[in-house]
């Protein structure tokens, strides 16, 4: 997993101080520069301007840097800083997408009323729900989602984890309901 990355080789430069001039933790800065290109590519796929995406990444880095200096974090240190930072960035991307969507709705500039139009709300809601689910749940439940995607039955998933099919399904559904509740979805 750990390998050498050279952020300067076409990487993304992240501002070493936040908006209020507070320095960003060097480890966070390093991680932000490592994941920068991936983060910008992801944002691009979501039709977010790269400049906006870079700002979102800097904001995420600043928040994580602040969180790292909090006393609670010393008791439970971050295991994988890059993944943690990427998730923080992803949350900001999702929040941004939601906001854009509500603005578009209020202005009624979406062409979804035309017969051929595809309602983008559903895919954005699904994206946010999937992200939230993956960020919240434990690795085993996350793996259950991947197995479901491939077409595993609950029986096969239960067998993989040494639990009953009902227990596997219940665990997965509870995690999904939790994510839905957090997002205010039914």
């Amino acid at each position: 997993m750990a390998e050498k990355v050279h952020p300067n080789e076409g990487g993304v430069r992240v501002n070493p101080v936040d908006r209020r001039g507070r320095p960003i933790h060097p480890a966070v800065l390093n991680a932000a520069e490592e994941i920068g290109r991936r983060a910008l590519r992801h944002a691009e796929r979501q039709r977010i301007d790269p400049a906006v995406a870079a700002t979102l990444l800097e904001e995420a880095a600043a928040t994580v840097s602040r969180a790292m200096s909090a006393p609670a974090m010393s008791r439970n240190p971050i295991r994988d800083l890059r993944s943690y930072l990427f998730r923080a960035f992803l949350r900001r991307v999702n929040k941004r997408l939601k906001r854009e969507l509500s603005v578009a709705e209020s202005l009624q500039i979406r062409g979804r009323d035309t017969p051929d139009a595809v309602d983008p709300r559903l895919s954005i809601d699904n994206k946010i729900l999937i992200d939230e689910f993956l960020m919240q749940c434990d690795p085993a439940t996350r793996d259950m989602l991947w197995r479901r995607i491939v077409g595993f039955s609950w029986r096969e998933i239960g067998w993989s984890y040494g639990i009953s099919s009902h227990a596997a399904e219940s665990r997965f559904n509870q995690a999904f309901q939790k994510a839905r509740r957090r997002l205010g979805l039914r």
Binding site: M1, R38, H42, I130, P139, W146, I149, E156
Partner: protein, 261 residues
């Protein structure tokens, strides 16, 4: 009930849509052409096979790296195919085993029942029956009964004897040692002996005929305790030839009952 079914179907459809979306989204939305931070392929393969021992950092990487996600999905599909094949082989082996056991059991059942009489009356010899308290050894004694079938052989000519044959008596109170004297010239072969009430066969046995002092005799043990008293037809048949005589099953006389006591 119907509403519940519709709700379940709707939920299932929504889940299916979400899974399809998740696959499209995760396999495309996180490009990583430089493969920054990607784990080796073996680690993903191992995770697909042994889910319980999976590394949390691998799992976290998979949610934000589409190339790794696609590789992992491929490994999962392979693992699933293997599991399904193994399960199919196991199931087939179990089904084959069950079929073999059933076939053997069926064969044994048929083999044991083929040698038994076709109609099995409960005429087990009293000697093998468990003894009840108070039951004496006298109950196991067989009462010898000789039934003469020598005159039962069909005669030549169209006119049959109109004289009604006198039925021979068989006691029903205790087991009997039946000796059937066959007509003169009967062969020493296996005969089927049946006792019929009207068209219903109530008892049957088979016995090998033996010649003693010029007579051909069939000897068989029987117990007619369960049969109701009355007239029956005793038939002896072999090789398409059938002899029939009327018999009367009669309760034991009072003095003999007292003797047994």
């Amino acid at each position: 009930m119907v509403r519940r079914r519709i709700t379940e179907r709707e939920a299932s459809r929504k889940e299916e849509e979400l899974l399809v979306f998740a696959r499209c989204y995760l396999s495309d939305a996180f490009p990583n052409p430089e493969r920054t931070g990607c784990p080796p392929d073996d680690a993903l393969g191992l995770m697909a096979i042994r889910a319980v021992d999976s590394d949390a950092s691998l799992s976290e990487h998979l949610m934000c790296c589409s190339p790794c996600f696609n590789t992992y999905v491929g490994h999962l599909a392979e693992a699933r195919a293997k599991v399904r094949t193994t399960a199919w082989i196991k199931r087939s082996a179990v089904a084959f085993g069950i079929a073999a056991v059933l076939a053997i059991a069926g064969y044994l059942f048929l083999a044991t029942h083929r040698s038994a009489p076709i109609i099995a009356p409960r005429n087990q010899a009293p000697t093998v029956a468990p003894e009840k308290p108070g039951q004496t050894q006298a109950a196991a004694i067989y009462v010898p009964v000789l039934i003469d079938l020598s005159s039962a052989s069909p005669t030549r000519g169209s006119k049959q004897s109109t004289a009604r044959a006198v039925p021979q008596i068989i006691p029903s109170g205790s087991p009997v040692a039946l000796s059937l004297r066959l007509p003169l010239g009967s062969e020493e072969r296996l005969y089927l002996i049946t006792l019929a009430s009207g068209r219903r066969i109530v008892w049957s046995a088979s016995s090998q005929a033996r010649r003693e002092n010029g007579d051909t005799l069939l000897q068989v043990h029987a117990d007619f305790k369960d049969l109701s008293t009355g007239s029956y037809q005793l038939q002896v048949s072999s090789g398409g030839r059938r002899l029939s005589v009327p018999v009367l099953i009669k309760g034991a006389p009072p003095n003999s009952t007292e003797q047994q006591r």
